[in-house]
Amino acid sequence: MADVSSATHGDLRLTRITKSYGDFTAVNDLSLTIPEGSFFALLGPSGCGKTTTLRMIAGLEEPTVGSIHLGTTDITTKRPYQRPINTVFQNYALFPHLTIFENIAFGLRRRGIKDVDADVNKVLDLVELPHLAQRKPTQLSGGQQQRIALARAIVNRPALLLLDEPLGALDLKLRRQMQIELKWIQREVGLTFVHVTHDQEEAMTMADTIAVMNEGEIEQMGSPADLYDNPGTAFVANFLGQSNLIKGRIEGTDGDNLVVDLFGQKISMPKSRSHAVDSSIYAGIRPEKFRISLVGTPTRGNILTGGRIEDVSYIGVSTQYQVTMPWGQEVMVFEQNDDGVPPFDKGDEVVISWEPNFTFALRGDDDVEAGLEVNPEELDEE
Amino acid sequence: MSNALSKVKLPYLLLLPGFLFLFTFFILPIVNLAQTSTQTPIVGGDTGQYEQTLQFSNYISAFTENKEQFARSFIFALCATVLALAIAYPLAYAIAFKAGKLKNFLLVLVVAPFFVSFLLRTIAWKQILGEEGFVVPTLRSIGIIGQSTTLTSTSFAVVMGMTYNFLPFMTLPLYASLERIDPRTMEASGDLYANGITTFRKVTLPLSMPGVVAGTLLTFIPAAGDYVNAAILGSPNTKMIGNVIESRYFKIVDYPTAAALSFTLMAAILILVTIYIRKAGTEELV
């Protein structure tokens, strides 16, 4: 039987991992530490290398260069069945010729455990599907299959649980529900989860730490709040939520703040929130941080004048505005519909304002389009 | 670990027994046939004794003496193929598109008759089309055929027998190909102003071409070399090349000629098939 010691545990450490297929580099010099017990998300668009990274952790692919450690053990060349790591596959990969019970018991039996009943039933209770034990996978709905796939992995109490876009095939409501359940299960059982997804809302809902990947490299890593509030690159700023990126120049300092010129208008922002390397920057503000007011009404904080409302979209919870600024750029503003004030009209002349502390600054040479739209051609590469 | 090593060797190990067998009992015999085809009988020796003389003229004499049978074989095979296509296509179409829940059952029904030994079936046709069957007397009384015409021992019967026997080889690939067509493409065609016949011509037929190519090949190739239908349902006037080869082995012992004929048959089929495949444009058969 497979020699999998459950004593092998600890932080997962990827050191300078590169995976190349001929000319194509899927993962490029990637280093990463995933703390034991955390819910970690690998987030990125199709083709960014996140699934390849996951498969290397599982042992289903071998890195071209680099090493993988679980705690103090080097698992780089170990076969998948020699690692205390289990995967929940994207299409579930349940064994169609075995019952649900046998599917779940599969890993236990391979490890030589004779008495599997207690463990299998316990985990069936955990996913709330004890009545399906004797069915076959094809008789289950997508949501049920997903939970059984999870149960099949969890029952082995692996040091690390890998999830490869497990919620992709579920409809929206079910997906939302599963996100909460997965998070709860992770806390309950205390395992380390590594979740791969292209859905940034999903990553933000579930993960303690997110690593945003792009073209084989990690762009930025941190808590959802950190990544959202203070993105370091245009890719992260555009991929996670939406951003307004306005070209500008640092003019000087004012205590802890920077004075920035945006097309002739002056704003201030904290020095600590600038990722720029020189005076050329993109000033970034999230659309929900902007406030719109008509010309002449009192405002505070940073102010940009000369805006004209181009488009109004009423979404129920909020109203979304496209505002054309004097330099030609259209910025997005999201206003909560929480004060009974009727929305502005198309054509209104308005002033945009926001709290300076919400501003972040990116390098002036960054690609302002990065992370914006998924290029259909890239969809086949993952 | 020896894992990496065995991973490279494994496919070859798996192939070895089977390929060894095929090499010994398929390749070698054909090579042997080639070298037999250029032999000549040993002067003064018994029947069946030959020596290798590289007499390539065997091919020429074999071909010229049996031109008629060669031609007949290919004409019969062609007719049988075309007829089989005509009969099988609508049948496959009906099963693929008009059968609903009965699809699998009907598929079994198409193949089922061929569970009866094909000899028995062919002989059944001989009886049915013979003097004691019900077809000939009926046709005679209606006046479609004359009193002295018979249906057995005719080219008609041979082609008919061939068509019937090779029907499943035509139907199944056709069905497989038609079944893969998304019926919504045919609906889209109707939506775009094409009537039923046009939809068939411009959408269904082109999409089913892989099946047509596969079916025609699986029918024509064995049909060209067949001799059983000719033996049972035909007469000495309807001899196909298969009959000639068979008699050169068992009746008039003349192995070099038989070998030469076999190779000529193979070569002819190969050439025709290659041209056909090129024209039809489908490459994947296996």
Binding site: L60 | F21, A124, Y227
Partner: protein, 279 residues
């Protein structure tokens, strides 16, 4: 002057309705004729298995169940049948084993010579049976091996292998590779993965290939004719006794095989419904 306005259902004139019905159902009508045509010789064979014909089953003489009660009444029939079954079983076993191994090699691994291997498998299927049979006979003669039982088995294995390979390969191709990855992820090594996941899922394909091999072997005539010598298989028996009349018992055997095969296929459909592989 009360005019009643009822909601009128548009009526299509009868002639047009008839022609529309025809157009929609023409193919179905044709299919009925087609199936009838397919079954004519089968029904004839079946009917004449009840003929009180003695040795020559050419004209209908009378109804009897004797043939069915005593299928081996004409002893040559059962001998021939026995030969066909023995050869069929042996050929099936060997060709299935060899063919499955080849199918796995070609279907699973990318190796040098893969496309040539595909060609080698395809060639026997594309060669006319007469060439296969004749060439094998020639080889046997060169080595002074007389045609008979084992040469026939060898010949059958030879032409069945390709069909086994094609059938099993198709099944292997439809196997989701992620199932094997999942097995290894769940602590099964390569051998265990094969035993517990791959093999059970490919098994229906192997069973189908075996069934196909047996049917091809049983029904084969041309290749057998060249390599069986004095031994007679069932098809050969039918062929040689055609001139003087086939005993009705042969019809019984033929009909029985038909019914048996039909039952097996229908049973297979039911089993197949339970183990459906979804990708």
């Amino acid at each position: 002057m009360n005019k009643q306005i009822d909601a009128t259902i548009p009526t299509i004139p009868t002639k047009a309705r008839l022609s529309r019905w025809f157009g929609r159902n023409l193919i179905r009508i044709y299919a009925v004729f087609g199936f009838t045509y397919l079954f004519i010789p089968v029904l004839y064979t079946f009917a004449f298995s009840f003929n009180d014909a003695g040795k020559s089953n050419l004209i209908w003489k009378g109804f009897t169940l004797d043939n069915w009660k005593n299928p081996c009444g004409a002893p040559e029939v059962c001998t021939a049948l026995g030969n066909s079954i023995k050869i069929g079983l042996l050929a099936t076993v060997f060709s299935t084993i060899l063919g499955t191994m080849i199918a796995f090699a070609i279907g699973r691994y990318a190796f040098k010579g893969r496309s040539s291997s595909n060609l080698l498998i395809f060639l026997p299927m594309a060669t006319p049976e007469i060439v296969l049979g004749a060439s094998l006979l020639s080889l046997f003669l060169v080595f002074h091996i007389n045609p008979g039982f084992w040469p026939t088995v060898i010949a059958h294995v030879m032409f069945c292998i390709s069909f086994v390979v094609v059938t099993v390969k198709a099944r292997i191709a439809s196997l989701d590779p992620r199932l094997e990855q999942a097995a290894m992820d769940l602590y099964a090594n390569e051998l265990e993965t094969f035993r517990r996941v791959t093999l059970p899922l490919v098994a229906p394909g192997i069973a189908g290939a075996a069934l196909l091999a047996f049917s091809l072997s049983f029904d084969d005539f041309i290749i057998t004719n060249f390599n069986s010598g004095t031994l007679k298989t069932f098809p050969e028996f039918v062929y040689t006794s055609a001139a003087r009349g086939i005993p009705a018992q042969a019809n019984v055997i033929g009909s029985a095989m038909f019914i048996l095969a039909l039952l097996i296929v229908i049973a297979g459909q039911f089993v197949g419904k339970k183990v459906k592989v979804s990708k």
